[in-house]
């Protein structure tokens, strides 16, 4: 009994208990750059618990993941935006049936350089900044300095989500301005904001580090300014929270189902908080 207890304690120390359940095989996860840090942690833990399973995770952008799902080149598509109706139609035409699973939530954070004196912005101001209508920080109560607006490129689900919910919050016809910088990864944007006192960028909560300052967001001029955090996303007060999703071709089965079940389990949801995102309520 003592030995058994010791084994259990040791296994407990090693993280996930080693289960000999015969799970084996490999699959890949392609898509959102936002979800990548989370999916990588899940994949590592799952592979630790099931040594015969191998999972590869890559995060070029949600659009890439959805295109890969439609072209049948990925098993799981991770996405930070919901699939568009026309993408569902393209998938169905290819014999693929997208199946949506929400795995976590995110408070999409707007970040600036820590030296920036601006601490909150409204949807209308953000929209004006990202459509080249406001080009100087003094127009939003900051110093007299030009605004360097940074966005992800069109591969990104965050690009699409931010456009739909913030840039177009006033007028559905608005597009990102031509002066906006489009960068190929979230890390590139965050590192530019950390270096550049005039830059502004948006990123998933998991990418907000000490080197950048998140802004409090107001839905309209008279509503309260809310900082992005797990708490404000969970109680629904933060205005730009969004689901982080997995898409599979039909309901998952086999090892993919086991993996998704792990992600949704209490242990998997604990990792969500560790990585900096918002667990499912």
């Amino acid at each position: 009994m003592v030995a058994l207890g010791l084994v259990a304690v040791l296994a407990g120390c090693g993280g996930e208990p080693q289960v000999q359940d015969g799970l084996s095989g490999s699959f890949n996860i392609i898509g959102s750059n936002t979800v990548t840090p989370l999916a990588s942690v899940w994949a590592e833990d799952f592979m630790k618990a099931h040594p015969k399973v191998s999972i590869s995770v890559s995060g070029p952008g949600s659009g890439v993941g959805i295109a890969a799902l439609i072209d049948r080149t990925t098993d799981i598509c991770q996405s930070s935006r919901t699939i568009k109706a026309e993408e569902v139609a393209q998938a169905e035409a290819n014999g693929v049936h997208p199946y949506e699973i929400q795995v976590a939530s995110d408070a999409l954070s707007v970040v600036v350089n820590p030296s920036n004196t601006v601490s909150s912005l409204t949807f209308a101001q953000l929209s004006a900044i990202y459509t080249d209508q406001i080009t100087n920080w003094k127009e939003v109560g900051g110093p007299d300095a030009p605004i360097v607006a940074i966005s992800r490129d069109t591969n990104s689900g965050t690009h699409a989500f931010f456009k739909e919910h913030v840039v177009q919050s006033i007028d559905k016809k608005l597009e990102y301005g031509t002066k906006v910088l489009f960068l190929p990864s979230t890390e590139a944007g965050v590192s530019e904001v950390a270096k550049n006192p005039n830059a502004i960028f948006y990123a998933g909560l998991g990418y907000v580090t000490q080197k950048v300052k998140p802004l409090a967001i107001k839905k309209s001029g008279d509503s309260a300014a809310i900082l992005p955090s797990v708490a404000t996303a969970l109680d629904g007060t933060y205005p730009i929270s969004r689901p982080l999703l997995f898409y599979t071709n039909g309901a998952p089965d086999g090892i993919i189902k086991a993996f998704v079940d792990y992600c949704l389990s209490p242990g998997g949801q604990e990792k969500v908080t560790e990585v900096g995102y918002v667990p499912l309520a």
Partner: protein
């Protein structure tokens, strides 16, 4: 030449066909000739096959680009595609105008070439005419090492070292701009310009230089008025190869050029080149979709551009050859 024939007779033939099969050995002559023919034929076949393969691949690429790219013109008329200034591939409805990318590519390539050519040709002239053999070997080795640095690493260097520098020197809002990309590209096209120009300069007959020195010309005058003009065909080819490298480079410009969609007016503005547009867009383009077709059409434009650069290089080479024909 006779020395080479001796080498074939004494070394190569025995090695290929066995020690006893010399061309003059009686009795073996017929058998040897038969085997020689066979070897000759099969090698000839292999070589022509490789030649044909290159052409087939080229045509294959062209056909693929045409097949996947041309259908976009039924959605966006060619005029709007080439001269349109708005690229919103995932909007409803999408618009495709490549003018900003085209202008950015031309601008970045022009600056990269303008920076790389004087340095590259100067370096080549130094290596070929001035440097001692020891210095030459060391510098050449280092220049060739520069060519071996992966473009993504050059992107890092641009991102971390050059972009803050460019930003502070030119007082810009951001260092991620066309100029940063152009400087990185000039570094990347430098090795090919140096190596090819140096070869061309060293190929200038020494009689030319000796005649120049005999007339009392200094070393600088000899390089300036004799060596460089005589090697101009090779140097032009080197420049064109450098231009080709700069037009086609993707990863570095994707990382440091900033990626704005406006038509740039100054090199210090953020911009997106055609290669960067393809690389950042092709991932989320569903096969056969509008964005996919549009990106292939961009690829087609790039293909035509590099083809014309090569064609121009070819014409220059041809003209120089005729000029210096002896």
């Amino acid at each position: 030449m006779p020395a080479r024939i001796d080498w074939v007779k004494e070394r190569l033939i025995p090695r290929l066909f066995g020690r006893n099969s010399t061309a003059t050995a009686p009795g073996n002559a017929f058998r040897f000739r038969g085997r020689w023919r066979l070897g000759e034929k099969s090698i000839e076949g292999l070589i022509s096959l490789s030649g044909i393969l290159a052409i087939v691949l080229l045509l294959g690429v062209l056909v693929l680009l045409l097949k996947e790219g041309l259908p976009i013109f039924s959605h966006t008329p060619p005029w709007e595609f080439f001269f349109g200034t708005k690229w919103y591939p995932i909007s409803e409805p999408p618009t495709f105008g490549v003018m900003p990318f085209f202008v950015s590519t031309i601008m970045i390539t022009a600056i990269a070439t303008a920076v790389a050519v004087p340095i590259g040709v100067g370096c080549a002239a130094y290596l070929a005419e001035v440097a001692s053999p020891k210095v030459r070997e060391t510098v050449k080795l280092l220049v060739e090492l520069l060519a071996g640095i992966p473009s993504v690493v050059m992107g890092f260097v641009g991102l971390m070292l050059l972009s803050p520098l460019v930003q502070s020197i030119f007082h810009l809002n951001t260092g991620l701009c066309g100029l940063t990309a152009a400087i990185m590209l000039s570094l990347m096209s430098l090795p090919i310009i140096v190596t090819v120009s140096e070869d061309a300069l060293r190929a200038v007959p020494s009689e030319f230089k000796e005649a120049s020195y005999a007339l009392g010309a200094t070393r600088w005058e000899t390089i300036r008025h004799v060596c460089i003009p005589a090697a101009l065909s090779g140097i032009s080819a080197a420049i064109m190869l450098g231009v080709g490298r700069a037009i086609g480079e993707t990863m570095t410009v994707l990382m440091v050029a900033g990626g704005a969609l406006a038509i740039p007016h100054l090199p210090t503005e953020p911009m997106t080149t055609m290669t960067a547009a393809i690389a950042s867009g092709i991932g989320n383009a569903v096969r056969g979709g509008l964005q996919y077709q549009a990106l292939f059409a961009v690829g087609l434009i790039l293909f035509v551009m590099t083809l014309s650069v090569n064609w121009v290089a070819d014409r220059i080479l041809e003209r120089q050859k005729r000029k210096f024909a002896r």
